[in-house]
């Protein structure tokens, strides 16, 4: 039985890992210039603004790349899994490392949308058709 390891939740990463409790994909966004930042950082790389807050993204994106992992890196995660980089619709280059679930075939460019899987206190964003 696959059980996703709970990620380390810090002040900086809490919104991303727990937004799924309300069905929201919370991504850090600069309130001054609107730039989305992932992984979340306390300063905007574009305008150096400091007012960075988590905002709900649409949850829509496309598969930028994917791989079928066949090596067991975690005792609770027996392979295979489809691990992917998904580019979110909000901004070119805004990509998340994630899983693709709920489909038989994955292709680069495939449209996907977010769903969440609970792991301890965290809600892990994963993507499917």
């Amino acid at each position: 039985m696959t059980e996703r390891p709970t990620p380390a939740i810090s002040e900086r990463t809490a919104a991303f890992w727990t937004g799924g409790a309300n069905g929201e994909l919370l991504i850090a966004r600069c309130q001054a210039c609107g730039w989305w930042l992932h992984p979340p950082l306390p300063v905007c790389r574009r305008c150096h603004g400091r007012d960075i807050r988590p905002e709900a993204a649409s949850g829509h994106g496309t598969v930028w790349s994917f791989t079928i992992n066949r090596y067991q890196w975690s005792p609770s995660m027996p392979p295979p899994q489809v691990i992917a980089e998904v580019e979110l619709a909000e901004q070119p280059g805004l990509r998340l490392l994630t899983s693709v679930v709920g489909c038989d075939e994955v292709t680069i460019g495939m449209p996907v949308r977010v769903r969440f899987e609970q792991a301890g206190d965290a809600w892990i964003p994963v993507f499917g058709p």
């Binding site: 996703r4 390891p5 709970t6 990620p7 380390a8 990463t13 992984p39 930028w64 790349s65 994917f66 791989t67 079928i68 992992n69 066949r70 090596y71 067991q72 890196w73 975690s74 005792p75 995660m77 392979p79 899994q81 691990i83 992917a84 980089e85 490392l97 994630t98 899983s99 680069i108 792991a119 965290a122 892990i124 994963v126």
Partner: protein, 384 residues
């Protein structure tokens, strides 16, 4: 292309320094030897090659030095080596945040150009093979790692090869490159390793062996990955004007690239020389994964952007007698993960004409060496 003027100097820093000696320890899987012993073996071999004694060394430079990291990724720090060999140092440096592993050579050259040292012992020691076994295997190394970048992958079952696999899949999709083409990097490296007694994997390998190899993370198979080993490599970088330097044996540092990124680092290297990619006789490029070798070939403009697949197809062009011999000692894929320093050692061996059965015909005059990946990159252009 214009050669970039060097601020405040009439000659570039590279002109001030030469490589006078190089050497390595025993290199192998699960040697179970004290990493300080490996370090001493490599250091003393390099010193002997340079015709120097420990008392001549007044600088030490290493990557990453003594720090907490994944088990076996570092086997000795600067101060370990100072104490180990009884060195009296005027200057030293070590650290994990260098621009790639060869950043330690860049630092040595800069220190010499600045007059801070005359003979700098540069080294890299790994003992991952033994340390990973003691830690309970490779997966436990990843499970225990505190690296933030790995934290993002943990809930998804990702390991280091995941990132190589994602890059490889994307590259194949964008360019049409095939696994049969990638296979040539592994097959050619293995053929070169067969002629190198110090390489760890020397049994013959075919494209079919590659295609049937265990898949780690599609499309990346076991033979796309380098192999953790135990071993140390040391190089002596000396003031080119020092009396002890034998100019007939010294290897010149034509130019260096230390910028953040494959392209940025490679562009910097070419901006500091009048040589061009077509002058390169041998390429010892970083091959932690085959896709990293492809990235470096394109960044260094040794192959055209997106066209490395067709270039390496069949393997003839990158073989020892091809137009661009690559990883002539077996690279990290078959020679072992000496983390950039294996490539540096092999470049020195080829330029000195010591390659024996794997010597590139005609004795190469220009070698390029690269290390690292993504924003952690450096490269060197070396000449006889």
């Amino acid at each position: 292309m214009t050669v970039r003027p060097v601020i405040g100097h009439t000659v570039k820093a590279e002109s001030a320094a030469v490589i006078t000696g190089f050497g390595s320890s025993e290199i192998g899987r699960r040697l179970g030897r004290d990493p300080l012993l490996l370090t001493a073996d490599a250091a003393l071999a390099a010193l002997a090659d340079a015709g120097l004694r420990p008392g001549d060394i007044d600088g030490v430079s290493t990557y990453p030095g003594a720090l907490w990291s994944t088990p076996g990724i570092t086997g000795a720090g600067v101060d370990d080596v100072r104490a180990l060999l009884g060195l009296r140092l005027r200057w030293h440096t070590g650290g994990g945040e260098l621009p790639g592993q060869l950043g330690s050579i860049v630092n040595a050259v800069l220190a010499i150009a600045a007059g801070l040292a005359t003979h700098v012992l540069c080294f890299r020691t790994v003992w991952e093979s033994t340390a990973q076994e003691r830690a309970g295997g490779r997966s436990s190394v990843v499970a225990r790692s505190g690296r933030e970048s790995l934290q993002w992958g943990k809930p998804y079952g990702a390991g280091y090869p995941t990132y190589g696999a994602l890059a490889m899949q994307r590259y194949m999709s964008e360019t049409g490159a095939t696994r049969e083409q990638f296979a040539q990097l592994a097959v050619v490296s293995r053929a070169n390793a067969a002629a190198n007694a110090a390489a760890v994997y020397r049994e013959p390998m075919t494209v079919d062996d590659y295609l049937e190899a265990r898949m780690i993370s599609d499309p990346l198979c076991m033979l796309d990955c380098d192999v953790p080993v135990d071993g140390a490599v040391a190089v002596v970088v000396s003031d080119a004007a020092a009396a002890a330097v034998d100019r007939t044996r010294a290897i010149r540092i034509e130019s260096m690239g230390s910028a953040s990124g494959f392209d940025e680092s490679a562009d910097m290297l070419w901006s500091r020389t009048e040589l061009t990619p077509s002058d390169v006789d041998v390429a010892e490029i970083y091959d932690g994964f085959t896709i990293l070798a492809v990235r470096w070939l394109e960044a260094l403009r040794l192959t055209s952007r997106g066209e490395t697949g067709p270039f390496i197809e069949g393997g003839k062009r990158i073989a020892l007698d091809g137009e661009l011999p690559v990883s002539t000692g077996g690279g990290q894929l078959s020679g072992g993960r000496l983390h950039g320093y294996g490539a540096l050692l092999e470049a020195c061996i080829q330029l000195r004409g010591l390659g024996g059965a794997r010597q590139v015909p005609g004795t190469p005059g220009v070698a390029v060496v690269s290390s690292g990946a993504e924003s952690f990159t450096s490269c060197l252009l070396l000449t006889r």
